[in-house]
Amino acid sequence: MARLRGRGMASVNYPTGMNLGGDPSQALIHATTTGSFVISLSSVDLGQGLKTIMAQIAAETLGVPYGNVMVDTADTDTGPHCMGTFASRATHRVGNAVIMAAKEAREVMMQVAADELEVDPDDLTSDGEGRIHVVGSPEKGIGLVELALAAHFKHGRTISGRGIYMKPKSDVDPETGRMDPDSAQAHACTVAEVEVDDETGEVFVLKLTNVYEIGRAMNPAMAHQQIVGGAWMGISHALYETTEPYYPDRSHGPTDFAGYLMPGPGDLAEMRSAIIERPAKNGPYGAKGIGEMTANSPIPAIANAIFDACGVRVDEMPITPERVLRGLDALRGTPA
């Protein structure tokens, strides 16, 4: 009886966004009287970091500090339209809408600054730290608070902008089958190293090495954490999770977390991850989506590593000890 070691790999191309009946997302930005910029969205941050990314994009495009940007996703009934945060689409779709809104708001901001400073708006620049000033003359400028107050109380202006990113519906060419369903494709590869216990059928994931090409990592630390968390979920799908372990027989299904198997903090694999950036032409600052794909490539990589370790090819998830043992029994000619 032994622990058999194996290595497997798998690659994935993952679409950013999907072909709906047209796939729009909209964003509105306005400045408050005190020079904060509020991005109104119906897009939802469910932990993936949407608010952080949108604030980064708006700050970069507006030319104001990140801390001056607030993201309001409070109400999908009253906010500007978003199709939703799914299909790894939010960074791309909503990010593009935020850029468009921020450009329009920046134009008004620079015009008001020009009126206040009695100069041409084309002669102005933003320092990214909260001041608009004449190019080459940092002392001739105006701070964001003063500027916003002037816009509201002197000029009667709203420093605001509208943004929409609209991916049109793509019909299928009946002759060729050709269509344009997504906006970009991200790529990933995982190499898994496992040990299989040939007596119990248990699989131990020792190490996952992941490489992701995601256009541009808008926030590298968050992208890295998404990869780590997704890889954990990939291990979980590959080896543990199911609501119907003997489908189509629905018996023995879990009814709560106690019976729904997942790897715990003691079952972690060693993880190494790298990000490669090849900016997408149509992505906001080159970004593609890295939402859902992080759970994908670990699964076939682990299945391949199990095959490499013990010769058993399991084509159903999860790859339970029972399935591995039945495969080993078939190979060894021992009764199941």
């Binding site: 932990g47 890295h224 954490q225 968390g229 890889a231 954990w232 709560d256 903090p265 993880m271």
Partner: protein, 165 residues
């Protein structure tokens, strides 16, 4: 069945409140006291999202009936921050180490970790894993959480060498 008055010390403050028989500590915290940082997850004791510290021990508040706890001392996430503008080293380490994504498990994780550091200021990695083994996280893959707790333990030892967390 008549409601009764229960007294608890919650995050250092004395609190009296009226509860119906069978009310859990979790329900009392969230509904009677309005302390909603403590999350209601599975309500069967298998996810750990509702973990609070009861008389120094981490417990799943969904499994504790509150009436027999009269006079007990309860600590929730609302009481963890060191000051109005100063986070506890555990909270800071969770932020700095990206140890939270959707945030649903975070309150329970931090309370389980705080109880651990109170009884063991110098935990090894295995100690941390055991301490949070009753807490489910669905986003992070746990590694960042384990690292953050070890980081906070080191920070606390450096700041207060003679005192427990």
């Amino acid at each position: 069945m008549r409601p009764s008055i229960v007294s608890l010390e919650v995050n250092g403050s004395h609190r009296d409140f009226l509860v119906q028989p069978g009310t859990t500590l979790l329900a009392a915290l969230r509904e009677a006291l309005g302390l909603t940082a403590t999350r209601k997850g599975c309500e069967t004791g298998s996810c750990g999202a509702c973990t609070v510290i009861l008389d120094g021990e981490p417990v799943m508040s969904c499994l504790c009936l509150v009436e027999p706890l009269d006079g007990a001392r309860v600590e929730t996430l609302e009481g963890v921050a060191t000051g109005p503008d100063e986070l506890h080293p555990l909270q800071q380490a969770f932020i700095d180490g990206f140890a939270t994504q959707c945030g649903f498990c975070t309150a329970g994780m931090i309370m389980a970790a705080k109880a651990l550091l109170a009884r063991n200021p110098s935990p090894c990695r295995e100690d941390v894993i055991v301490a949070i083994s009753g807490n489910v996280c669905r986003c992070t893959g746990y590694a960042a959480i384990i690292d953050a707790i070890l980081e906070a333990a080191a920070d606390l030892r450096a700041a207060r060498p003679s005192r427990a967390a």
